[in-house]
Symmetry: C2
Subunit: 109 residues, 2 copies
């Protein structure tokens, strides 16, 4: 999970994952095209994503294509989801408090 979150902490890497979300498999050169950085720089980012298990790379002839592997992201979501319960509880508490306040003046009438 350390590597997943570290991999996600860079905007270029998040953009690469977002690009891979829409397609089955994308070649490295096609992935690199929209970025204002060198191909080796993009490839280093792909190394980080691959080490974190977020993508797989397949070589066909001279073309390397990348695919998204969502398992580590699912694990990261699972970790964060604990906190969704926390927010929900907070919102419920807030709602209950507002409800109680709304009732209070009418009871005083």
């Amino acid at each position: 999970m350390d590597r997943t979150f570290a991999a996600l902490s860079d905007p270029t890497r998040r953009a690469l994952l977002a690009r891979l979300e829409g397609a089955e498999a994308v070649s490295v050169s096609e992935l690199a095209r929209p970025f204002a950085m060198s191909l080796p720089a993009v490839m280093k980012h792909l190394d980080v994503l691959s080490d974190a298990g977020l993508i797989t790379r397949t070589k066909t002839g001279r073309t390397v294509s990348c695919r998204l592997k969502a398992d580590p992201m699912e694990e990261a979501m699972g970790w964060l989801a604990r906190y969704q319960r926390f927010w929900t509880q907070r919102l419920d508490a807030l709602e209950a408090m507002l409800e109680a306040r709304r009732k209070a003046p009418s009871e005083a009438e």
Copy 2:
């Protein structure tokens, strides 16, 4: 979002957040107790969490207490949730494929 994911990439910091999840506010010394590291080391981790907006610190007399602030985590969840659609689509496609395979032999009978 860079800072959120970077902050979450360390197991000590995730453990600190998990500890704060269960309580309203926890003092720094109480937070540090379970960890086999110095108080200044824990305080550095709290700095990272605070810089990422994941916690707030309040000083009351000589006690500093920390509270969880879930907003950045909600944002991170939102980003990851896009991929949940991706997994769901994949699972749907897999299910459809298996369904088609299950049907194929019976049609041949």
